[in-house]
């Protein structure tokens, strides 16, 4: 194969077919993709269909704990999983800058295949476009995904069952992904040992849903972090959210970097964490289940749903004061996912 991606790789001609055969089909390998049709044709299943899409422009493409490929597959799987769906099929679209090294593309594709396999999801459709040098930054990836939701879990995405007294749980440390990516940027003055938390969560979430009814809401706190995810939950609702700062798990390194550069870990994106709102009667059981899974070892109850403060998220600070948390405004960290 060529060493660098050229315009011809996106032309629809021979080079493009070579790339598809030697790279995408080789790694993604499954009968739906290999049938070579314009659309993947998959068998029907009982339940509701969940469908989602997301584009990834993370910079740098490779970072400790992951890369744009792992991120793109995990991100779409997680959007399905937190909606209560079992993820099934994913499509992958690549926008590649002319001159991008083929071996880097191969690393990304290999990582996507590995992540999909780990999560039990198949990549069944794809697309490749190449743009002139300087018209995009190396590589952008889009993934869409389809999953199946059983009837009893359709309320999770809408949050309609959330009520006062429910407990708010986070499945692990907050802010690792954002800070790990940021600290890899060219020119960033501090070196850290931080790793991104980026990972598919469908196994973890599946275990929770299998064992417990009364999970009322889930969300992966990606862009805008935990603060924004909770604000979105509370907005326009007849309940409030109270979270307690000392209960929120934040790594020392993330805290230190945040202090140094003026970030608030509550707004820093995670890519392998889930916020769960569940009935008080099952919250300890869920916590126990999370603690027994490698992706949930550091899970904690961080707050609760309140009768007062409709539509608002209130933080009880470590000093004992209480302040209102707002959605992220502007960009705290550009191109982190």
């Amino acid at each position: 194969m060529d060493e660098l991606i050229m315009m011809a790789h996106g032309s629809g001609g021979k080079k493009m077919h070579e790339l598809i055969r030697n790279l995408f089909v080789k790694y993604f390998r499954n009968p739906f993709l290999e049938s070579g049709g314009d659309a993947a044709v998959v068998p029907p299943e009982p339940g509701h269909i969940a469908f989602t899409t997301d584009s990834y422009v993370v910079d740098p493409l490779f970072f400790p704990g992951g890369d744009i490929g792992k991120l793109a597959v995990s991100g779409t799987i997680n959007d399905l999983a937190v909606s209560g769906a079992a993820p099934r099929y994913i499509s992958a679209g690549f926008i590649i800058e002319e001159g991008f090294p083929v071996k880097d593309l191969e690393s990304v594709v290999r990582s996507m295949a590995g992540t999909a396999k780990q999560a039990g999801v198949q990549i069944v459709a794809g697309d490749t476009k190449v743009v002139n040098k300087g018209k995009c930054d190396r590589l952008f990836v889009n993934t869409s995904g389809v999953g199946i939701i059983s009837e009893k879990h359709t309320h999770i995405a809408t949050a309609d069952h959330v009520k006062a007294g429910d407990q708010v749980i986070i499945s692990g440390y907050v802010g690792d992904h954002g800070m790990a990516v940021l600290s890899q940027r060219e020119g960033f003055p501090v070196k850290t040992g931080l790793k991104s938390d980026c990972t598919p969560l469908n196994d973890l979430i599946g275990k929770v849903l299998e064992r417990f009814d009364h999970v009322h809401f889930m969300r992966d706190p990606t862009r805008g972090g935990v603060a924004t995810a909770l604000c979105e939950l509370a907005e326009g609702r007849q309940f409030g959210v109270l979270i307690k700062e000392p209960a929120i798990p934040v790594r020392e390194e993330v805290m230190g970097l945040s202090e140094m550069f003026g970030f608030d870990p509550l707004y820093v994106p995670c890519e392998g964490r889930v916020l769960i709102v569940a009935d008080q009667s099952v919250s300890q059981g869920i916590l126990h289940t999370l603690h027994g899974h490698p992706d949930g070892e550091n899970a904690a109850v961080i707050g609760e749903i309140t009768t007062g403060n409709w539509g608002k998220v209130v933080l009880e600070t470590i000093a004992g004061g209480r302040r209102i948390i707002h959605m992220l405004t502007g960009e705290q960290l550009p191109r982190i996912c």
């Binding site: 805290m255 600070t317 000093a319 004992g320 004061g321 209480r322 707002h326």
Partner: protein, 361 residues
């Protein structure tokens, strides 16, 4: 975490808050003059821990906020010339000039780069020898020594394409102006970072001349509460003086080496502060021997006449005579997503903090 968690210890905080609560009959107004204090006070909701008679005001302590609109216009005009690289701290990018921002100039094609320190700006100059790199040098005694070190380094390396546009300021003349103009303050929470460089000496004239106490404070909740407690004691004793409640970082004599470096590179001039107007000997510009690195003197550019934003009362807020909620624009036309005045742009600004960290109390 060492040096953070100890000062966020709930028991220590509760004990200090308890001692402060015993001053429930004391009426006092304390002003903090450091953006990081503003942030901490709001972020931890310190006011909710204080008795009703005690008010905390934010003074002109956020360097971005006190930077006059004319400086932004100058920086934007330089950016628009197209050929230079503007190296700036992130906060300045969205500060409105009279008719534009650096962010808009960048979207129109100007080369505006965000840096964390002057070291990165120097690196830009090394790697782009054919272009001028203009570092937007702002900040108080905390950052001025770093700029001075950068300028000396550029001189040593003969980096002829490196220059700065200085808006550096020093704090004492502004404190004096506020005290002398009769803004009613019973004590200053003095800026910890600035004091690391300046030491305690620079505040002595304030209790002596104006009878207002000064306590140098750190930035964690326990630090701030301790400083408030010391100020309250000074008020009830009737003995205003300079005290240091941030001894783990601030030495009595400060950092003489940093000051020497600063003085060798900069000279004091009268300069404009947004909100305060001209403040004598409060600005820092490059000395004659570094004139070749002074963007203001070296690069000819047409700068539009400065226009303050209509209806914005940042000026009064910076002086402590108005609160963000007094501004007709606050939270309506002016919010962090669409800042009208500098106090809403900066993460250290009084308005942004009042908006972001609204108390539930």
């Amino acid at each position: 975490m060492k040096y953070i968690s100890e000062y966020r210890d709930r028991q220590v905080i509760d004990r200090l808050a308890g001692q402060i609560a015993s001053f429930r009959d004391t009426k006092a107004v304390f002003m903090e003059v450091c953006g990081t204090h503003t942030m901490s006070i709001h972020r931890f909701d310190i006011p909710s821990l204080l008795p009703a008679g005690l008010r905390l005001l934010s003074g002109p302590g956020c360097p971005v906020c006190v930077t006059p609109v004319g400086y932004m216009d100058h920086a934007i005009a330089l950016a628009r010339q197209g050929k230079h690289i503007i190296a700036t701290f992130g906060d300045l990018v969205r500060v409105p000039g009279s008719t534009s921002t650096l962010e808009k100039a960048r979207a129109e094609g100007a080369d505006v780069r965000t840096v964390y320190s002057i070291t990165e700006a120097l690196e830009l100059a090394r790697t782009h020898p054919g272009r001028k790199v203009i570092f937007l040098a702002i900040g108080f005694e905390t950052t001025a020594p770093a700029t001075a070190a950068g300028v000396l380094q550029a001189q040593k390396e003969q980096l002829r394409n490196f220059c700065i546009l200085s808006a550096h300021k020093v704090m004492p003349p502004a404190l004096e102006m506020l005290a002398s103009e009769g803004v009613k303050i019973d004590g200053y929470l003095c800026p910890g970072h600035v004091s690391v460089i300046t030491g305690e000496e620079i505040y002595r004239f304030i209790p002596r001349k104006y009878g207002v106490g000064c306590v140098i404070a750190g930035f964690e909740p326990a630090d701030i509460l301790l400083a408030i407690l010391l100020l309250l004691k000074q008020v009830t004793d009737g003995k205003p003086r300079v005290e240091n409640a941030y001894k783990r970082a601030v030495r009595k004599e400060g950092n003489p080496k940093a000051r020497e470096m600063m003085e060798s590179v900069f000279r004091p001039v009268d300069t404009e502060w947004r909100g305060l107007g001209m403040v004598k000997k409060s600005g820092l510009v490059l000395r004659e021997e570094f004139a070749s690195m002074d963007a203001a003197g070296q690069i000819r550019v047409m700068v539009e006449p400065p226009v303050e934003p209509q209806g914005c009362i940042c000026g009064q807020i910076l002086k402590g005579i108005a609160a963000p909620s007094d501004c007709p624009l606050f939270g309506k036309m002016c919010h962090p997503g669409n800042p009208v005045g500098a106090c809403m742009v900066s993460s250290e600004g009084t308005c942004q903090n009042a908006f972001k960290f609204q108390s539930d109390g």
